[in-house]
């Protein structure tokens, strides 16, 4: 369950990273709230009825609540990822100087112009003064032109003074912005770190929910688990049959009502299929699945072929083929060595279902994957009926 959570969340995280897009945190928050509400409302009396409910019904209820808790945890993880990504995006944006120009240089150039114009104006003023003393009409014409020039020069000087004011204001604004940028960057660093820690906590939460519901299943008293599927007609299911969860080993004495331990190969051999509707599973939901089991020299040899309906955003191969084999033992659980078509190894367990025409299968694969292939559905379980 933890792996599923991590993979799903990682896929969501990776999907965000390349485009640096800011996630819709409000929507993810609403999704998280909805997932929490589903979990809370699913079975509020589960714990209070854990000692009185019929085993078969109870197991199904536990399974549903565990699934809801898992979905709730995934939604929380995605929200924490989004908070991390939002803080990261904001930090990237804040830390990036979008091109604050070097105003000092521009101001220096402006001051050079102003100085030059002062010199020009000074010379012009002197000339106007000299020409003013001469009453010659031609000289007076030149003086008039000089005065016009002086007016134009003053207009330029006014414009430069205005620009100097604007540039000085821009410099101050830039300084003010920089003064605020540094603490903001620091705060976003804190927010990123906090979001990361939150993600770690949620990963722990996933494992705790799993442990909780597994333990809750053990609270149930030794009560008869009624056969709920009519042999030979599994579609007439009235109560769902639980998938035996990992950890229930054959060393545990079977409770009354649980099908007896069988060493008969015929209990396992043959073709088994996952029902098209109302199937029971843990992990990813199968779209279709088949198992063919045969006996060979005291060993059981078989193949599981399955296709899954993967949740949106889960980057895994929807197709799974596992070849398995192992000894036929007089134990409740048959532990098999499993290998996928891509040579990923792991274990597969076969368990008798609550009726003779049902078996349960669960598998767990190792982490090693072919480099270019999508990861396999590494863990899961389902109930199949005999063809």
């Amino acid at each position: 369950m933890t792996r599923r959570l991590v993979l799903a969340a990682s896929a969501a995280f990776c999907a965000l990273t390349p485009a640096q897009q800011t996630p819709d945190i409000t929507k993810l928050s609403a999704d998280s709230a909805a997932a929490y509400k589903t979990w809370r409302e699913r079975d509020p009396k589960l714990e209070s009825e854990v000692r009185t409910a019929a085993k078969a019904t109870l197991d199904a209820r536990i399974l549903r609540s565990a699934d809801d808790a898992q979905k709730m945890t995934i939604a929380r993880h995605e929200l924490a990822d989004a908070a991390f990504q939002a803080a990261k995006n904001a930090l990237d944006a804040l830390d990036k100087d979008l091109g604050t120009p070097v105003l000092d240089l521009q101001l220096a150039a402006l001051q050079r112009q102003q100085k030059q114009l002062e010199q020009d104006a000074s010379l012009l003023d002197r000339n106007i003064k000299v020409f003013a003393a001469d009453k010659d009409p031609g000289i007076q014409k030149v003086k008039t032109e000089m005065e016009k020039e002086r007016t134009a020069m003053n207009a330029v000087r006014d414009a430069l003074a205005g620009e100097e004011k604007t540039l000085t204001a821009l410099k101050l604004i830039g300084d003010r912005g920089e003064a605020a940028r540094t603490p903001a960057v620091g705060r976003y660093g804190e927010l990123m770190s906090a979001a990361r820690q939150d993600r770690d906590r949620i990963e722990n939460e996933s494992a705790l929910w799993q442990a909780y519901y597994q333990a809750l299943g053990k609270v149930a008293p030794a009560e008869v688990s009624k056969t709920t599927i009519a042999p030979g007609n599994p579609r007439e299911e009235t109560t769902r049959v639980p998938v035996l969860r990992p950890g229930r080993e054959s060393t545990v004495p079977p409770k009354s009502g649980v099908p007896p331990i069988v060493a008969d190969a015929s209990r396992w051999t043959g073709a088994w299929t996952y029902p098209p509707t109302n199937g029971l599973f843990s992990g990813e939901e199968p779209e279709s699945a088949e198992i063919i089991v045969r006996e060979q020299d005291g060993q059981l040899v078989g193949t599981l072929n399955a296709r899954f309906r993967l949740q949106k955003g889960v980057l895994r191969d929807p197709v799974l083929r596992i070849d398995f084999n192992g000894p036929l033992t007089a134990t409740r659980t048959l532990k098999m060595t499993a290998v996928t078509a891509d040579r990923v190894t792991g274990t597969l367990e076969l368990l008798p279902g609550s009726a003779g025409n049902l078996i349960e299968v669960s598998w767990q694969l190792g982490a090693s994957q072919p480099s270019k292939a999508l990861p396999k559905v590494r863990q899961g379980g389902m109930v199949l009926w005999k063809k």
């Binding site: 800011t22 409000t26 998280s32 929490y36 509020p44 714990e47 209070s48 854990v50 908070a83 904001a90 944006a93 979008l98 091109g99 070097v102 240089l105 521009q106 150039a109 112009q113 002197r126 000339n127 000299v130 020409f131 031609g138 000289i139 014409k141 030149v142 032109e145 000089m146 016009k148 020039e149 134009a152 020069m153 207009a155 330029v156 414009a159 430069l160 205005g162 620009e163 604007t166 204001a169 821009l170 604004i173 003010r176 912005g177 003064a179 603490p183 903001a184 705060r187 804190e190 927010l191 906090a194 939150d198 906590r201 722990n204 939460e205 705790l208 333990a215 809750l216 053990k218 609270v219």
Partner: protein, 231 residues
């Protein structure tokens, strides 16, 4: 025909890429360097043109040309500044938009954190109720207690995150204000260039007018020009 269209499309893509490059901050730096270079060139011409004019006879054809050359140089540097400021303006507007979006996101995150906190508090209460219904010896109690503890830790962490968010909000509010002021000031800076260009042109036009008057009153004579004091 198709090949031609494809060629044109590829050219348009190339131009778009070039445009995207110039819109980067590095492009702004280059534009600024270009404007400064042209300003220096113009200022050198401007600083010496009166002195050069004083060495020419009033009706020397080179007199008007000298002033026109300085005017052209002035126009060129102002054009460079206009290009640069337009780019700066675009970046300042982007910065302002980013700052506002960041501020809005912070506000959204505050709401989300409060909702998360409430959810966790409700879940703790719910888990405690469920805990009370379980047998005292149940193995489920341990993970359940750990879940309650984990939720409590998350609530405490949310309080810290809320404090960091509030502090970030203050800084970002200052940034938003600075970015808005900067965008407005850059708008003003952009607008002043057109006005400044017109004023410089008017000045050089006045200077040409004086040169022509000096020529008119002196004819082809060698009458002395207005004195030019060496700087």
């Amino acid at each position: 025909m198709c090949a031609r269209i494809l060629f044109l499309l590829s050219l348009s893509g190339l131009f778009a890429a070039v445009e995207a490059q110039t819109s980067a901050p590095a492009g702004l730096g280059l534009l600024q360097q270009n404007a400064e270079k042209k300003t220096t060139a113009w200022l050198n011409l401007h600083a010496t043109f009166e002195d050069n004019l004083s060495r020419l006879l009033p009706c020397d054809a080179r007199a008007v040309k000298t002033i026109e050359d300085v005017n052209r140089s002035s126009d060129a540097r102002i054009e460079a500044w206009i290009t640069y400021t337009a780019q700066w303006r675009s970046l300042a507007a982007t910065e302002s938009r980013n700052a506002k979006r960041t501020e809005a996101e912070l506000n959204a995150q505050s709401g989300v954190l409060q909702a998360e906190k409430l959810q966790l508090e409700n879940q703790i209460a719910d888990l405690r109720t469920r805990r009370a219904a379980l047998p005292a010896t149940s193995e489920a109690l341990k993970p359940l207690d750990q879940l309650i503890d984990l939720n409590s830790q998350r609530i405490a962490a949310i309080s810290d995150r809320t404090a960091a968010l509030d502090a970030a909000k203050q800084s970002v509010a200052t940034l938003v204000s600075a970015a808005e002021s900067r965008a407005a000031a850059v708008d003003k800076e952009a607008a002043q260039w057109t006005d400044q260009a017109a004023r410089w042109r008017a000045y050089y036009a006045a200077r040409i007018s004086r040169a022509k008057t000096e020529c008119a009153i002196t004819g082809q004579s060698t009458a002395p020009r207005a004195p030019r004091k060496k700087q």
